[in-house]
Amino acid sequence: MVHKDLEEYAGVLPPKLLEEIEEQAPASKRKKVGQIVYDEYMKARVDAGESVGLISAESIGEQATQMTLNTFHFAGVAEMNVTMGLPRIIEILDARKAIKTPKMEIYLNSPYNKGKDIRQIALSIKDTRLGELVSEYAINIFEFVIDIHLNAEKMQLLSLTPAKISKLLDKALGKVTKITDAGENKISLQLKAKEDRNLNTLYKLKEKIKDVHVKGIKGIRQVLPVRRQDEFIIITAGTNLKKVLALEFVDPTRTITNDVHEFAKVMGIEAARHLIIEEVYRVIEAQGLSVDIRHIMLVADTMCVTGEIKGITRYGVVSEKSSVLARASFETPIRHLINAALLGEVDKLNSVVENVMLNQPVPIGTGLPQLRVKE
């Protein structure tokens, strides 16, 4: 509830500002402080007709020319290889679906984040395929049987038993094979159908066995437990946010991915917008450059206004432009023109590029005010 002295500013000034005034200004000066804050706030607003988008583009672009093309960058000793620099910025702003180095930072709930058994926890998330646990394959081409010798050490580390693996194998390949023998760290598989029994399918089966998922969450290719301040977190290569968040030891409030699209799907568009801002800002900072965060916010906003993430590409934000000429002036003009002609689109000449093309005053700054003639 806003204090009586500040009532007139409710809804005009942001609630956080009002709160701050109330907390920090002495009661006697509250009204006066309110007035000063109001004046300053109004002064700091962007003027009507200011081309904020262009200024953002220039502000980011100017700095971006300084960026090194150094793609890979290790941000510390025990960090993972992550795309940084210009390629990463391009990747984010283009809203690429498949990013070069997907990565997660998994925060853990209280008892687990102390570092005890952190390796075990990390490994339990890692997407493990059977191939990694096998020490040897023995192929019997007469019986069409594959003997799988398992690495006992690795099995123990992942707390897996041959019985469990047999079950998984049966689930994955049960349709074509049957388990003929399951002994101590050894499983034998035979091709079921007689007509399938040839060398080719046998070798193909071996490849399939390698790829059987035995443990962890699909998509998490690598795990790395890292100490961050006074707790342990797990950094992963490869992401699967939805599955990870469902784990009971994971702190869902802080765990993030660097895949903007995935984040939008799981956490919503607002969160994705925030992620875009943070990711871009982090890259710029890492290069030792400084861009006002509000420029990046504006970019992130335009990418997210529609409710889904649109990249700054001809398929994304640019295709949303209302002006045919503006769209045509940015990549693949003929396609845009012909589609516009088919739909009978009308260009109202409301923004900058079209007006430059026609050599008319652009509706920005001094081009905005118009004369109104008395009737």
């Binding site: 262009l54 093309m357 050599n359 652009v362 509706p363 920005i364 001094t366 081009g367 003639v373």
Partner: protein, 601 residues
């Protein structure tokens, strides 16, 4: 295992003992039994021997070392001094041999004789041999960063000097000749070897290192008007103009003559005023922009059967050679001759004196190039207690970041040399010791660190700081503003787009590009932007009912629409011609770009 041997990259066989093979090959070469152009390399990791005899390998001379001793003995040096031995004798004797890049890989080369050990194979003739011809001409080169040394060497190649003594009899393109070239006071060994005195390219000037009213910021230099009047950096620019009487099919030829008034493309009588009866200018004519110097007419371009019989037929085309826009000069030399095909050839050489002006590029030999920022009357320049003013004022801010110590040392050496009336040896790696130069300067009555007390030329006040003053060799570089300056307010436009032409040769405009446009938009300077882009503004009549460009019939002074016919409302709109063009292109695509007009107010 046997070592594989390759001759000029091709496998020829094997040898059992590569060491013996290499040794005998080298001794035979040094003995003269094998050509000294043969080089041999042993690739240890592949156990291969490469023998090279091909042309085009860069090779450099080195003194042969045997058992840690240079083959050049005191006796040989004495013989050399007496002239009993020459370089070629040493090469023949195998005392000096040339190594290519490959053989150098197997050599261990010492810089100085005192560094020799038994494992050394060669001795550098001089550390100076590391440098090329021009690089070794940078004084005190070993005191500067290598990058600056390279820039210093590169800049010297653009210096205006006396490139040849017979320039008056030549018709070279784009020639600059310096009027009073001098030998550098501070020079290196290479200056003597290359007989630099025959083709010097700069002048020794007095340089003061200080600021002057901000006109020497960003590497600019201030030059003394008095020095200019005395001939500093004065040069002449020569440019030939050529015209040939070409022969065409049908027995038609070009004709060098004063064009008739009937000729197609006749300029104006004024433009031909310098031509004599033979259609060529007279020597020493002072010509200006667009003046014709060789009058020439050509036969009509397309000879159609219709033209041949028409009254106006046989109209020749004007194809004279004239001066370009903004060009001035004096006709220096006229040659009338015949070329290889037997065509009449006229060559005219133009001459133009070029005084140093603001924007001309100058450089010292230390890679400190700069542009003239201001030319100051001698009276206004700071002066020393002897009443001397510097020729050039050089900004101190150019020094620390670039670390060109050679620049500073040259000033000191130059000052001593100029005062002591002698040359100073500044050969890289073995210059005269700095200490001795300082002592000599002191004995000549100057401060040994080269600084002097200067007085403000305008107020006479003493300048608090001691100013570093010295003599340097400065070069005027051939990038003269006069050949590059460009500006236009109006001028020729392109036929297709009606936008200004591009480039200085075509008297073009300076393009305000996409990014420059953005800056104006960012400032909200909308109307300024529109005005800047008005260069191809056109009035286009548009049919109000169908929105297509209409036709204005200037004979009847009527407008009609190509689709709707007459009797429709046609209004003029102001758009850029480029947009009219794009509308036409849309139509060619099969699109119908309909313009919906609205009243602006």
């Amino acid at each position: 295992m046997a070592t594989e041997v390759f001759l000029n990259g091709k496998y020829v066989g094997t040898v059992d003992n590569h060491r013996d093979f290499l040794d005998s090959l080298k001794t035979e070469r040094r003995r003269g039994a094998i050509s000294n152009n043969v080089n041999v390399q042993y690739e240890e990791h592949l156990d291969r021997i490469h023998v090279e005899t091909t042309r085009g390998r860069t090779r450099r001379p080195l003194i042969v070392v045997q058992d840690g001793k240079s083959l050049i003995t005191d006796e040989i040096i004495q013989q050399l001094q007496k002239g009993e031995l020459t370089w070629n004798n040493l090469v023949e004797k195998g005392i000096i041999e040339y190594l290519d890049a490959a053989e150098e890989e197997n050599a261990l080369v010492a810089f100085y004789e005192r560094e020799l050990t038994p494992s050394h194979t060669h001795l550098e003739v001089s550390p100076l041999a590391m440098f090329g011809l021009v690089t070794s001409m940078v004084p005190y080169g070993n005191f500067s960063q290598s990058a600056r040394l390279l820039i210093g060497a590169k800049n010297q190649k653009y210096g205006i000097g006396l490139y040849t003594a017979n320039y008056l009899h030549r018709l070279d393109m784009d020639v600059n000749i310096l009027h009073y070239p001098q030998m550098p006071i501070v020079q290196s060994l290479t200056h003597g070897i290359s007989r630099n005195e025959k083709h010097p390219a700069g002048q020794n000037v007095v340089v003061a290192v200080m600021s002057y009213k901000g006109y020497n910021i960003e590497d600019a230099i201030i030059i003394n008007k008095g020095s200019v009047d005395f001939g500093f950096a004065r040069s002449t620019y020569f440019r030939p103009a050529v015209a040939e009487e070409l022969r065409y099919s049908g027995g038609l030829t070009d004709q060098v003559s004063v064009p008739d008034k009937e000729v197609k493309g006749y300029k104006s009588e004024r433009d031909y005023r310098h031509l004599e009866d033979d259609g060529i200018v007279y020597p020493e004519a002072v010509v200006g922009p667009e003046d014709v110097i060789i009058g020439k007419t050509s036969p009509p371009r397309f000879l159609s059967s219709l033209d041949e019989y028409s009254l106006a037929g046989n109209i020749r085309r004007e194809s004279s050679v004239g001066l370009k826009h903004g060009e001035n000069g004096v006709v220096d030399f006229v040659v009338l001759t015949e070329n290889g095909e037997g065509n009449k050839l006229v060559q005219v050489r133009l001459r133009d004196q070029r005084l140093p002006e603001i924007g001309d590029k100058f450089t010292s030999r230390a890679g400190q190039k700069g542009i003239v920022g201001l030319i100051v009357p001698e009276a206004d320049l700071p002066f020393t207690s002897n009443g001397m003013t510097p020729d050039i004022i050089f900004s101190p801010h150019s020094i620390p970041g670039r670390m060109t110590v050679s620049h500073l040392l040259e000033m000191l050496g130059g000052k001593t040399g100029a005062l002591g009336a002698r040359k100073v040896d500044a050969t890289s790696f073995s210059p005269e010791p700095e200490e001795r130069i300082r002592q000599e300067l002191l004995s000549l009555g100057f401060r040994e660190d080269g600084t002097e007390t200067l007085y403000n030329g305008q107020t006479g006040e003493r300048i608090q700081a001691k100013i570093y003053v010295g003599s340097m060799y400065y070069l005027k570089l051939r990038h003269l503003v006069a050949n590059r300056i460009q500006s236009r307010a109006r001028g020729p436009i392109q036929l297709l787009t009606r936008q200004p032409t591009e480039g200085r040769a075509k008297e073009g405009g300076l393009r305000l590009g996409e990014m420059e446009k953005d800056t104006l938009v960012a400032h909200g300077a909308s109307l300024l932007l529109k005005e800047r882009f008005d260069s191809d503004q056109t009035l286009v009549p548009v049919c109000e009912s169908c929105g297509v460009i209409a036709i204005h019939d200037s004979v009847k002074n009527k407008r009609h629409c190509p689709i709707c016919g007459e009797g429709v409302e046609v209004s003029d709109i102001e758009i850029s011609y480029a947009f009219k063009l794009i509308l036409d292109e849309f139509k060619s695509l099969g699109l119908y770009p309909k313009m919906i007009l609205e009243s602006k107010y």
